[in-house]
């Protein structure tokens, strides 16, 4: 791996990725903590749920018994109450923001894959894109939102979708590029020995090798897309999405309602995350741990 790709790699969010995909037990963990596989898979599901319930319970207790006012800290019960009361608005807002995020994710991921294929193929394209990618990776959305609204018009959802696309593009690009560079010498030799042409090479080797990396990139991008689409709503454009409703509710101190919308946005982010995680799991099924070695 050359120096550049090393830098690239470090900039990507892939570390984030793999730890979550393959929470490791075996290596790096002492055998003395061994649970049977069944206990382990039970705990893996039960532990977070129990922890969540405990925190939720404490929170409710704090408000109902602890004397913290419901105005300062809305209780879970009142949040659920608002959620029920404003359910149609919650659903339509979630749909709107979700659609923006999904479109952004799809376009951003597609662009990321295509452009990284170009960067992987031509070194010059890689070097030329490097500063731009680096800049995109660090630019705060708040900086871009007003500009994009001016460029594409504040009356359409395009600005939000563009922001979600930019946010998704970066991790997909970086991970895919890494994936394209993972083909093993033995496989490349093999394809050459078969006198495979470049299309066959791409279809039979490069793409399948990169696939887990692409999917890891998409998974990282998924919740970013949601949060970006949502935050972009704070900066203009048509109303009706989760972001503008959170802002409006909070501005009138309707915090329980604001948190109901926040809850919906968490659920949306989680839905995106889990959907892409499932996709990744399916694709990773056949690739030995650590992607391709």
């Amino acid at each position: 791996m050359n120096r550049e790709s090393m830098n690239r790699e470090s900039m990507s969010t892939s570390t984030t990725a793999n730890a979550i995909v393959s929470p490791r037990g075996g290596a790096g963990t002492s055998r003395k903590q061994g649970w049977s596989p069944r206990t382990e898979s039970t705990l893996r599901i039960a532990a977070p749920i129990i922890l969540g319930l405990i925190v939720l319970g404490l929170w409710q207790l704090l408000v109902t018994v602890g004397g913290v006012s419901d105005y300062l800290l809305p209780s879970p019960a009142s949040i659920v109450g608002e959620l029920v009361e404003f359910w149609p608005a919650v659903v339509s807002a979630t749909m709107l923001t979700g659609t923006n995020a999904l479109l952004g994710l799809l376009v951003g991921a597609l662009l990321g894959i295509v452009l990284s294929a170009i960067a992987a193929r031509w070194r010059i394209a890689d070097q030329m894109s490097a500063p731009i990618i680096a800049a995109l990776a660090v630019v705060p959305i708040v900086a871009l939102a007003p500009v994009l609204n001016s460029m594409f018009g504040a009356d359409s959802q395009f600005g939000r979708q563009a922001i979600a696309a930019i946010a998704s593009f970066v991790p997909v690009f970086l991970n895919t590029l890494r994936g394209f560079r993972q083909t093993r010498p033995v496989h490349r030799d093999l394809m050459k020995a078969y006198a495979a042409n470049s299309t066959q090479m791409l279809r039979s080797l490069t793409l399948p090798t990169a696939r887990p990396f692409i999917l890891t990139g998409i998974r990282i991008a998924s919740s970013l897309a949601v949060i970006s689409a949502l935050v972009a709503e704070y900066f203009g454009g048509p109303r009706g999405g989760l972001g503008s409703l959170i802002a409006t509710s909070a501005a009138s101190s309707a915090y329980a309602r604001a948190w109901a919308y926040v809850g919906a946005s968490i659920a949306l982010g989680l839905l995106f995350y889990l959907a892409t995680l499932a996709l990744e799991r399916i694709a990773l099924r056949r690739v030995p741990a650590g992607g391709s070695r």
Partner: protein
């Protein structure tokens, strides 16, 4: 808690007070900065910290949470908070009039609220939209008959035709329009280029910048009561200074961190003065009719999710003229004119970019 409001004191014997603004430092708040700059607070024995806010800070919540002693906020927004359980009192209605406009192009045919139907209507959201919904409700329109578009920090969306009628404050966004180049002429836009609907002239007009205090402390905390009167006295003096010395007031706000250019800042101070002065009942005194109009409007306004800022009239504790009256009396005793009888605005010419 840092909220001394009368019982704590700083090293030099002054009482520490925190005032939460509802936006960044700018001419809209010139009176408070002038009072600080001219030493009016100090004369009253107060050491006032003026705290600006940003996109997501809700000033009345900072007050309700006890983070600050007083807050500047629009009435309909605070009414919403009061209904949610905040215990706040309007102690001085600084702006006597609504400064909100809905601006459209001169040739757009949008001359009244009724013309909004089917149009793309801009608003900042964040609770600034209730006047629109209230005015529309009076015309029998609801939020589903228009498309509400959130405006960002500038008027580009309007200038580029993304929205048909944009929300604008007389003292700020309207000036932004007049500081922009018309690409067709290469010159700045002129007032004739626009149709302007002022909410003050509609049923939807609502009371805006008011000073809010903590109701409980007003009831029970004597030191806070004393501080409140002193504080209001200084504030009134600050606004009088701003009315009489708009240029100097503009310089003070720029010095306090406003990032606007000098011409825009001066425009803002001047237009803000226009919303305050003259004040026939005395500056800061709450006009019961205007209050009632605000409450009615807030009850009738319904946004696209079906939410209203308030569903019922606020408690009586939501406003009180006691404190401002006391302050005005003391000032008048000193021979200060608190009605701005001879106030007259100045002429401000805006330069490109407000610079």
């Amino acid at each position: 808690s840092p909220t001394d409001g009368g019982d704590g004191g700083s090293a030099d014997g002054l009482t520490e007070v925190k005032l939460q603004l509802q936006w960044l430092p700018q001419g809209q708040f010139a009176g408070y900065f002038a009072a600080a700059d001219q030493g009016y607070f100090e004369e009253e024995g107060l050491d006032v910290e003026i705290i600006p806010s940003g996109g997501d800070i809700v000033p009345q919540d900072a007050l309700a949470n006890g983070d600050v002693d007083y807050a500047v906020a629009w009435v309909p927004k605070v009414l919403g908070s009061i209904e949610q359980g905040a215990n706040l009192t309007n102690i001085a209605q600084i702006f006597q009039r609504s400064g909100t406009l809905q601006v459209s192009w001169a040739d757009s045919g949008i001359d009244t609220i009724a013309d909004f139907e089917g149009k793309k209507i801009g608003s900042w959201g964040f609770g600034n939209e209730w006047e629109i919904f209230a005015a529309m409700a009076a015309e029998g329109l609801d939020s589903s008959t228009v498309q509400i578009i959130t405006q960002d920090f500038n008027m580009n969306a309007f200038l580029q035709g993304d929205i048909d009628a944009a929300q604008a404050m007389t003292y700020n966004e309207y000036a932004q329009l007049l500081e922009s180049i018309d690409p067709e002429t290469g010159e700045l836009y002129q007032p004739e280029d626009f149709n302007v609907i002022s909410y003050e002239d509609t049923v939807g007009g609502m009371l805006q910048d008011a000073i809010w205090a903590d109701s409980e402390r007003l009831d029970s905390d004597e030191a806070y009561q004393e501080t409140t009167v002193k504080f209001l006295k200084a504030v009134v003096k600050g606004w009088i200074y701003s009315a009489e010395n708009p240029e100097a007031a503009a310089d003070i706000t720029i010095g306090a961190g406003s990032g606007w250019g000098p011409s825009h800042e001066l425009w803002m101070v001047n237009e803000t003065n226009n919303l305050i002065w003259p004040a026939p009942n005395g500056m800061g005194v709450i006009d019961e009719a205007s209050w009632q109009r605000t409450v009615d409007g807030a009850i009738s306004a319904v946004n696209e999710t079906g939410a209203s800022p308030i569903t019922a009239a606020p408690p009586a504790s939501a406003w009180s003229n006691d404190w401002i009256m006391k302050a005005l009396e003391e000032l008048e005793a000193d021979g200060v004119d608190t009605t701005g009888a001879d106030f007259s605005p100045i002429e401000v010419s805006l330069l490109e970019g407000g610079n």
